[in-house]
């Protein structure tokens, strides 16, 4: 095992991205593509030891690296993963590979820059998950905005400018307040930006905790996104290119939820407990109301975007189910499983929409109909992903939702009952869309001219299908990794800091 696995995981894609950028203009697009796929593959391969060599019986951080970075400001280059963050790093490296493949011949304009932006972003995301120093985390967390802004703005749809600026400013708003919170905590924790030092603070007054929680909440709630600060997401998703949507849904949203687990809950547990009813209500609104909003969408991408918000509502719900001062272990693990699963499923759904969009250049449900007649293989795959999106047992979508609902029943029956409506709404909006797009007679001459998936698309679909089914049939592979870390977290949160 390398001593610097995490650094390698972070810097491999970034260096690869810079190399791709150096290929220059579109005349060397083929080289850029192959270089990008090599870089993404290398990034994925170096991230695998994190999964295979992870010690399930070891609580706390693993693969730790620490050295001084900006001593004068008290900032360290401190990396490490626990059972929670490790999963997301691997998931991210995996998704990056798919994204590069998904954009292969679709992106004809400034291919090198496109691929480079994704690779660099992939490294930054890994960094955000691996950082154990608050400012290091912040640097990665914010640095991500630059490539994402460009991805949406340069390669996006008609309203890309509006969407990209909205995305940027919304996320910046939240994170800047978090920065102030970090600096405040730095002085409380004896001039240290270590996240573990923040978590170890024994006493924080209630009103301070609440202010800190609000700062964290604004930052992460925008990223998740929770209702009512979700409005950037449908815009960003609809206008982003397929790859952008995949990364946004599969990974960047998860950073928000991860932030709640890493910062908000352990650092200010009493405020989290006190404000948990608010989060639960907002989450339920997301699950139910946004589920209904998804039902009436006429744009496929918007529909899946709203479905993402609804599913992420489930995640935040699972993370804030307290009985007494104890978090519910089922619900937290369920939330984590849901996050990973949603990473696969939403990436798959956006990819499917991308496949159709590349052929017809429309995302409107009404412009399709009877696609199954022309693209039978594609229709079969999309069927699987649609089922997973609506939470069918034996797919990954079921496991997480089931665990969260189980947890919720133990805490409050009515919360569980409302949350469970997602199984109905989710099935309704996903399958209804599927029916209108895929089944029936051939809708128009565009559909009549469709050709089935090519080898590249087939490959991406197969990989995603294996992931979705694998996780649905054997979730234990993931749950056993996170189990100890989740228990530690719950034990930590249960101790009051008042």
């Amino acid at each position: 095992m390398f001593a610097n696995t995490l650094s390698l995981v972070i810097w491999t894609p970034i260096v690869a991205g810079l190399l791709v950028l150096a290929t220059g203009g579109d005349q060397r697009a083929t080289l850029a593509r192959w270089l990008a796929v090599a870089g993404a593959l290398a990034g994925f391969v170096v991230s695998l030891p994190l999964f295979t060599q992870f010690n399930n019986l070891h609580g706390g951080m693993q693969f730790v690296e620490k050295m001084p970075w900006i001593e004068s400001l008290g900032i360290n280059y401190h990396l490490g993963v626990d059972g929670i963050s490790m999963l997301f790093i691997v998931l991210n490296s995996f998704t990056t590979l798919l994204v590069v493949l998904a954009g292969w011949e679709v992106i004809q304009k400034r291919t090198g820059q496109y691929m480079a932006a994704f690779l660099i972003m992939s490294g930054l995301i890994n960094g955000a998950f691996a950082a154990l120093d608050a400012i290091l985390f912040y640097v990665f967390f914010e640095g991500m905005l630059i490539p994402m802004y460009l991805i949406i703005g340069v390669w996006g749809g008609p309203r890309r400018v509006y969407a990209s600026v909205k995305f940027f400013l919304y996320t910046l708003l939240g994170s800047l307040l978090m920065l102030v919170a970090f600096i405040y905590l730095y002085f409380q924790a004896g001039k240290s930006f270590e996240i573990e030092a923040f978590q170890a603070l024994a006493k924080i007054p209630r009103d301070v905790q609440i202010l800190l929680f609000v700062a964290f909440f604004l930052s992460f709630a925008v990223k998740v996104p929770m209702w009512p600060v979700h409005t950037w997401l449908p815009d960003a998703h609809v206008e982003a290119p397929t790859g952008g949507s995949m990364v946004l849904a599969a990974i960047t949203l998860k950073i928000g939820a991860y932030g709640f687990l890493r910062f908000a809950l352990p650092i200010v547990p009493d405020a989290a407990l006190q404000l948990s009813p608010v989060i639960v209500v907002l989450s339920l609104v997301a699950v139910v109301y946004i589920g209904l909003v998804a039902l009436v969408q006429t744009d496929m991408k918007k529909l899946v975007a709203y479905s993402s918000i609804s599913h992420m509502g489930f995640v935040t719900l699972g993370m804030f189910l307290f009985s007494g001062s104890n978090l519910n272990a089922w619900a937290v693990e369920g939330a984590l499983v849901q996050m990973v699963s949603h990473g696969f499923v939403s990436a798959a759904m956006f990819f499917c929409i991308g496949v159709m969009y590349d052929r017809v250049h429309s995302r409107n449900i009404a412009d399709y109909g009877g696609v199954a007649n022309k693209m039978p293989i594609f229709a079969a795959f999309m069927m699987l992903f649609a089922m997973a999106n609506s939470g069918l047992p034996a797919t990954s979508g079921f496991v997480g939702e089931f665990m969260v609902i189980m947890g919720a029943v133990q805490v409050n029956f009515w919360v569980a009952a409302l949350a469970a409506t997602t199984l109905i709404f989710g099935a309704a909006y996903t399958l209804w869309m599927y029916k209108r797009v895929i089944f029936g007679d051939v809708g128009n001459h565009h559909v009549a001219e469709l050709s089935d998936v090519n080898k590249r698309e087939f490959l991406v679909l197969v990989i995603l299908a294996v992931a979705v089914l694998g996780m649905g049939l054997y979730p234990q592979a993931f749950v056993e990794k996170m189990h100890l870390s989740v228990n530690d977290l719950i034990a930590h949160v249960a101790i009051s800091k008042l």
């Binding site: 203009g25 400001l73 640097v139 914010e142 640095g143 802004y149 460009l150 400018v161 102030v180 405040y184």
Partner: protein
């Protein structure tokens, strides 16, 4: 004065600069326009030698000369080296631009070097008289530099405005200084500090004087509500001179403020802190909000400068050594970033065409993706997005004010930088998202291309590894403040 005791070593670089300057002035009379590049080369060599002398005579303590009027401490050494570098960079960036507009004359170089000499004196002054002399040498050189393009109504108007308002500010400053002299009986900063600390000075007169001083300093920095001249002068001056005003003088002004408020009036920190809070908040707010409405890039950058001065003042408001070093770091990073921003504008301009509106940036990524990337780095650095140097600058000043329990001010500051992010994003949008409007080829001289690239990449490198520079600022403040 005893001649035997006169040790001129602390002012060696300045004396060399003056000597070289006079040589260049004379030599240039015999150089034809076609060979003007010789003057250019000589000026660069002069700056390099100055930097060499400055670094070579570095001492980790303060030494005085000219009867204690001139101080040479680590703070001034670092800032001076930075100013030599910045001035040289400005000369490189503006060569093509100035040649195309008939500004490439001997006076251009001699006046630039005179301005630099003035700045050196501002940075090294430890007495109101030398402070004022340095300031006026700088200001008068800049007024005439702007007016150098004498056929341009816009430039002349701009020079006139700058002159009138600058003179007003100098007047305010002098008035304040005279009151302080009345209260303390001295013009020497160290003696003034001692007199105030002993409590023997007339408090009312002191505070009165302080108000005038702060107003004068705010004028020079271009902070609200004394900022009116900034957009007009930035906009009206030829871009080359906008850069000259916006770069090194900001560094000098920062040290100038530090010398007067911290070194001289440090005991009155409670009095000036409140004034600076108002000025800083207003600067950040008005600078950022007004910048949104600008379509002219030079005006936009002018308002952006106003907001940056607000941020810089945050470091002083903290009133701690960490705060001062954070502000120093901010000033250096700000100047580095400004150089890139205006450097691109200069590079995109050509004979008969001024690149100065947002529309002129449209589609830059398709015209030349490297320049677009450099500008992108500068803009995101100004917006304070990591991993660019501008982030650590903002971070350090915010850390300093949170340390003195001004959390509310920190929240205001970050909200203002959020507003600021919008107009930087709009410029990025023009470069990357919009289609090309003007597809004429971009020709940038080789030397400029190289320096500009190094300059912009430095923002990124400094963002990844800021420790060196931050530590240097901290060390300089520590060494220099002990002598205060």
């Amino acid at each position: 004065m005893n001649w035997a005791d006169l040790n001129l070593m602390p002012a060696l670089p300045e004396m060399f600069l003056l000597g070289a300057l006079l040589v260049i002035l004379m030599l240039d009379l015999f150089i034809s326009d076609a060979k003007r590049v010789i003057t250019y080369g000589l000026s660069l060599v002069t700056l390099a030698v100055c930097a060499y002398l400055q670094i070579n005579t570095f001492e980790p303590f303060a030494s005085y000369t000219f009867s204690g009027m001139f101080i040479d401490d680590p703070l001034s050494d670092i800032v001076k080296v930075a100013m030599y570098g910045v001035t040289a960079t400005v000369l490189v960036y503006t060569r093509q631009y100035a040649t195309d507009r008939g500004l490439f004359k001997g006076e251009y170089f001699t006046l630039s070097l005179f301005a630099l000499l003035g700045m050196n004196f501002m940075v090294s002054a430890s007495n109101f008289v030398s402070l004022y002399l340095g300031l006026e040498l700088l200001s008068l050189s800049l007024y005439s530099l702007i007016a150098l393009q004498r056929d341009s109504a816009r430039a002349t108007e701009s020079a006139m405005k700058y002159f009138v308002l600058g003179a007003l500010a100098s007047g305010l400053l002098l008035y304040g200084m005279s009151m302080l002299y009345g209260a303390t009986g001295s013009l020497d900063l160290a003696l003034i500090a001692k007199s105030i600390a002993s409590g023997s000075a007339n408090q009312t007169l002191l505070v009165f004087g302080l108000v005038f001083i702060v107003a004068g300093l705010a004028f020079k920095l271009g902070a609200v509500p004394f900022h009116m001249w900034v957009p007009d002068v930035y906009h009206g001056a030829p871009t080359a001179l906008t850069l000259m005003i916006g770069a090194a003088p900001k560094l000098a002004a920062f040290v100038f403020v530090l010398r007067i408020l911290v070194q001289g009036l440090g005991a009155m920190v409670a009095d000036w802190q409140g004034m600076l809070v108002i000025i800083a908040v207003l600067s950040m707010a008005i600078g950022n909000i007004t910048a949104i409405a600008q379509t002219n890039l030079k005006r936009m950058l002018a308002y952006s400068t106003i907001s940056h001065m607000g941020f810089l003042l945050l470091g002083l408001i903290a009133g701690t050594p960490e705060g001062y070093s954070a502000a120093m770091f901010y000033a250096i990073v700000y100047v580095l970033t400004t150089l890139v921003g205006f450097g691109i504008l200069l590079g995109l301009s050509r004979a008969g065409f001024e690149c100065e509106t947002l529309d002129d940036l449209k589609g830059l990524n398709s015209r030349n993706s490297w320049y677009a990337l450099l500008m992108l780095l500068a803009l995101f650095s100004m917006a304070g997005i990591p991993p660019l140097a501008g982030f650590y600058a903002k971070f350090a000043v915010i850390q300093a004010i949170v340390n003195v329990n001004l959390v509310w001010l920190a929240v205001v500051a970050v909200m203002m930088s959020l507003i600021g992010a919008f107009y930087y994003l709009r410029a990025v949008k023009a470069m990357y998202f919009d289609d090309v409007q003007d597809n004429s080829p971009i020709s940038m001289a080789g030397d400029m291309k190289l320096v500009l690239s190094v300059n912009a990449v430095a923002l990124l490198v400094l963002g990844m590894m800021p420790e060196r520079l931050v530590a240097m600022c901290v060390q300089a403040m520590k060494l220099s403040l002990t002598t205060l």
